[in-house]
């Protein structure tokens, strides 16, 4: 049977029956509640903290109670678990009030008075001067020379806004401390990240920290780093109070104070020769990191490596920096730095085409990369790039070129149509040498005496279906029924560290280890006996070495590819758009389950459309203005149309059954395709997303 043939998901029954236990559902004997007292200023020194009279059983947990280091371990460690003497963003956690009654805990937290000596805050990317990461790397000749020889140089600047992950289940964790051992249960993507952070904060070794992922109601990157913070906070509180401590953020608190997609400012300077051919591109990318570095360095790396898009440009010069501000810290969100760059480069290419009097697709076709081409970090596109097949499929499904030609004719009347196309890639797995040097993933398959097996890996199912796809690979490899393959939510006492659930790596990297483990177990299979096999990460030997400082070499072993087409009708009276058709064509190597993969595509594309159109989040004096689902709009079913989705098989040997990274890819291309469609319908050029009706209507009301 083809591995893509859909099956009933491993967690279907437990979720559909309502029996799945999220952190809010699972009771802990003797538990009490915790609520954070948060900073009300964006930047300042804490002068005094005046607690209300705390009734018996109510406790304030502060930086002084941290047994180990009061610093959150992410890549490096900058953010305090509880703010000590300084707060760097509005909403930063200062202390926790705990106690048996949640209403009382909230009252006591609200009545805690903190006074500050306020400092001048940095409240926008434009004001920022301090970086927490920066890079510069080039390919080909010196850009000064290229610009000096150019017949024409075109420069444009693009901006992108925040995006909130909007997972259905807010952040939450329970900390337990007993017999010198800290345990954290919660909604999370990366149990071992939480474990490493907890070890540092609690001053405990590997054997004295246990992390358990509870069924998780969506993550989208939002539960990559933040569960480590909330986990450490409840662990410290549990040790101080002697009770399990439960903290679940409410929606407004979650939206205002947890990491989001980085706002960005991206400038391109493009050199054209006398025959209107691009000879070089200089890109400069600034990301708003927020108050603490967190994951920003790694996010920036992916932005930079996506800066030139799917184009083979002879000379490139790329700089980028993650800038510190006194705004909420930004982190991971599906796409991880790539959506900003792909929006910018795709729109830049469209704009150049229009300037040259060419149709965008014809212009882009002159530059699309192919197998063997050199990447912007002077790595290699080692594998087949199926852009020609994807274009052919897109024409078949959407009739893009004839619609483009039709809508290009002058339009009159209130409603006008436009169609836009984008081409994007996703570099598969962690950027650079992280898999080899830091993660070093390990998996186990345990075989029981009854000849059923259990997968032991630390990747969490956050709705993306990894329990099912892992199990399918193992069942297929062993030649046993899927029902004989068991997989539980990861518990670090039981599973080895197979790395985090991020970077679209779980299936390709960890799935491959499971495929290999299954093959070994099959070869060694002893019916009726208990057995265990373990597999370790092997770095692909074809890869060019990665130099992280020079930003040089193969940043990724391979790439997955996506083509998006968005067709819409623009209301010139309101600036609003109505989708007419949306198409996504994806090369994810080989999809391991068609239903799961279609789900990924539908969800990712809709999130991408939201990012490009209506998901508007702004800050004023450091405060997030849209901190509820009433004011922060994500698209509903009414706002969309059934998507046309197709897959191009292009198997990669380094992934199980040929699978490549798929989860993030699906989000990245929708925003630039939407933008391009609005540009065609309106006849205007835009430089910013979300491309809200406000921006569109203001452009339409300009004369001329």
């Amino acid at each position: 049977m083809d591995i893509s043939t859909p099956v009933v998901k491993k967690d279907h029954e437990v979720k559909m029956s309502g029996r799945a236990e999220y952190i809010a559902d699972h009771p802990f004997p003797g538990e009490i509640w915790g609520t954070m007292v948060r900073s009300t200023v964006p930047f300042g020194k804490i002068r005094s903290i005046k607690l209300p009279d705390l009734p018996e059983g109510y406790t304030a947990v502060t930086a002084d109670d941290v047994p180990g280091e009061n610093l959150l371990k992410v890549v490096t460690s900058e953010q305090p678990i509880f703010a000590g003497d300084t707060v760097r963003f509005l909403g930063e956690g200062i202390l926790m009030i705990t106690g048996p009654d949640l209403t009382e805990v909230k009252r006591l937290a609200a009545e805690t008075e903190v006074t500050y000596e306020e400092y001048e805050p940095v409240l926008s990317l434009d004001e920022a001067t301090d970086t927490c990461a920066h890079y510069h790397f080039t390919k080909g000749r010196a850009m000064d020379e290229v610009f000096a020889e150019a017949a024409e140089v075109i420069e444009e600047t693009f901006t992108t806004g925040y995006q909130e992950q909007a997972y259905l289940e807010p952040q939450g964790a329970v900390g337990v401390y007993k017999d010198g051992r800290a345990e954290i249960f919660g909604s999370m993507q990366c149990p071992y990240y939480v474990k490493n952070a907890c070890k540092q904060t609690m001053g405990l070794d590997d054997d004295h920290v246990r992390i358990v992922q509870m069924t998780t109601g969506g993550g989208f990157g939002g539960k990559e780093d933040y569960p480590s913070l909330i986990g450490c906070q409840v662990a410290v509180a549990a040790k101080k109070t002697g009770h399990p401590v439960r903290m679940i953020l409410n929606r407004r608190e979650d939206m205002a104070s947890t990491p989001k997609r980085h706002p960005s400012k991206i400038t391109y300077k493009v050199a054209l020769d006398g025959s209107k051919h691009i000879t070089g591109i200089k890109a400069d990318i600034l990301l708003d990191a927020g108050a603490y570095a967190g994951l920003s360095d790694v996010v920036l790396q992916r932005s930079l490596l996506s800066a030139i898009g799917c184009y083979n440009i002879e000379n490139t010069d790329i700089t980028g920096a993650a800038m510190l501000t006194n705004l909420v810290s930004n982190g991971a969100y599906r796409g991880f730095g790539a959506p900003q760059s792909f929006f910018a480069i795709e729109t830049m290419m469209d704009h150049i085409a229009y300037k040259l009097g060419k149709d965008p697709l014809d212009f882009k076709k002159e530059y699309f990369v192919k197998q063997g081409d050199i990447t912007c970090s002077e790595g290699v596109f080692h594998h087949h790039v199926p852009i020609p097949e994807m274009l052919e499929k897109a024409e078949e499904l959407t009739d893009y070129s004839s619609k483009y030609a039709e809508y290009k004719k002058p339009q009159t009347g209130r409603f006008r149509k436009g169609i836009g196309m984008s081409m994007v890639f996703h570099g598969c797995g962690f950027t650079g040498a992280a898999e080899k040097e830091f993660i070093k993933a390990v998996v186990k398959i345990h075989k029981y005496a009854d000849d059923t097996v259990e997968i032991l890996a630390s990747n969490s199912d956050i709705g993306q279906g990894i329990k099912t796809t892992f199990a399918k690979i193992v069942a297929e490899g062993l030649g046993i029924p899927l029902s004989d393959v068991k997989i539980e939510n990861p518990d670090t006492d039981r599973v080895p560290d197979s790395g985090p659930t991020v970077a679209s790596r779980s299936l390709m990297i960890v799935g491959k280890l499971l495929e290999r483990a299954a093959a070994r177990l099959k070869a060694e299979w002893k019916p009726g006996e208990e057995q265990e096999v373990e597999e370790h990460y092997k770095h692909p030997d074809f890869m060019l070495p990665w130099d992280g400082k020079a930003f040089h070499g193969d940043a990724y072993p391979t790439y997955s590819w996506a083509l998006n087409v968005v067709e819409l009708e623009l209301d010139t009276l309101t600036g609003q758009s109505r989708l007419l058709s949306v198409c996504g064509i994806f090369d994810v190597g080989k999809d391991i389950d068609r239903t799961i993969m279609v789900g990924q595509a539908q969800g990712g594309m809709l999130q991408g459309l939201g990012y490009g159109s209506i998901e508007n989040m702004e800050t004023k004096e450091g405060r997030v203005l849209q901190n509820s689902f009433t004011d922060y709009m994500i698209p509903t079913a009414e706002d969309t149309v059934p998507f046309q989705i197709a897959f191009i098989d292009n198997p990669y040997d380094g992934g199980p059954k040929g699978a490549k990274g798929a989860g993030e890819l699906t989000l990245v291309g929708a925003a630039p395709a939407f933008e391009a469609a609005v540009e065609q319908a309106s006849g205007k050029r835009f430089f910013s997303i979300p491309l809200t009706p406000e921006k569109v209507l203001m452009a339409l009301s300009e004369k001329g």
């Binding site: 009276l573 309101t574 702004e618 009433t630 509903t636 009414e638 209507l697 009301s701």
Partner: protein
């Protein structure tokens, strides 16, 4: 402990309000659930059968009881056509199955979806209470004077809003109707701007002309003097002077910037929709 009343009739509802003056009246409850206000007493109206009626009154008015839901309105052929444009844009099917127009009025949000429509219909709010001897007394109040500000209405602690009176004898002669809501998305969205208008066009001349804007002020904005000024104008004349006429009205609109939109956008959309309404006039 919160005292909760479940009156079966309008009379009992008024009795409950006199027993517990200032008690929270719940008519649908779709906004109360979100706002979670603290009250000592709550009167849940949805069991009051006589408030769930739509009835034709002697003068041709249509009375829509306080417990008539949006979904009920969509099912009733006597409800004016303009509501069929307005109601499907309100929130979601679940909200429309529970929410009421009276609730929308008493909520007194600047973004209330039905308010511009009710405003051009000259709708009246029907209010009842019990006097000292327990006799029912009622009064009516025009929509725009009943709504006094954001979440502020002209209702005494012992009064109950019984419903809305739509003076249809006058409305039915309007032969052009226009309504548009502009939200951030197509469902579950609070309006950034909304616009309702109607006109009676006879022999190519505007006889009666009404326009109201929502979400651009604390309550729906209407300009009776300007409406009078342009009544009697030939449609062709109005269309020829469209820009000036639009400017005349829009000058009086002073929207604000907030977390949902900008003042500039609200103004521009308000002007564009008004202008489109003029274009839509026949003759």
């Amino acid at each position: 402990m919160v005292r909760t009343y479940y009156p079966d009739t309008a009379y009992e509802a008024m009795k409950a309000r006199s027993e517990a003056p200032g008690a929270l009246l719940v008519s649908g409850g779709t906004d109360v659930m979100v706002r979670k206000p603290a009250y000592e007493a709550v009167i849940i109206l949805n069991g009051a059968g006589d408030l769930a009626e739509i009835r034709q009154e002697e003068d041709g008015s249509l009375f829509v009881g306080a417990e008539v839901t949006y979904a009920d309105m969509m099912q009733d052929h006597r409800i004016p056509e303009i509501f069929r444009t307005c109601i499907p844009g309100i929130a979601s099917p679940a909200i429309r199955n529970a929410g009421t127009m009276t609730g929308n009025i008493c909520n007194a949000s600047p973004a209330g979806d039905t308010l511009p429509v009710l405003s051009i219909m000259d709708a009246q709010v029907v209010i009842g209470s019990l006097d000292a001897s327990g006799q029912e007394v009622s009064r009516t109040e025009g929509l725009l004077s009943f709504i006094q500000g954001i979440r502020k209405i002209d209702l005494l602690p012992t009064e109950v809003v019984l419903g809305v009176r739509l003076p249809l004898s006058n409305w039915e002669r309007q032969n052009v109707c226009y309504y548009q809501k502009v939200g951030s998305r197509r469902a579950e969205s609070i309006s950034k701007a909304s616009f309702a208008a109607s006109a009676r066009v006879e022999d190519g001349t505007i006889k009666d002309f009404r326009a109201s804007w929502g979400s651009v002020g604390i309550k729906p904005v209407r300009f009776p003097d300007l409406e009078k000024k342009y009544a009697g104008t030939p449609v062709s004349d109005l269309k020829a002077r469209k820009e000036a006429v639009t400017a005349d009205f829009i000058e009086g609109i002073h929207p604000i910037d907030d977390q949902r939109s900008t003042a500039a956008y609200r103004r521009q959309v308000s002007a564009n929709l008004f202008s489109d309404f003029i274009d839509s006039l026949g003759g």
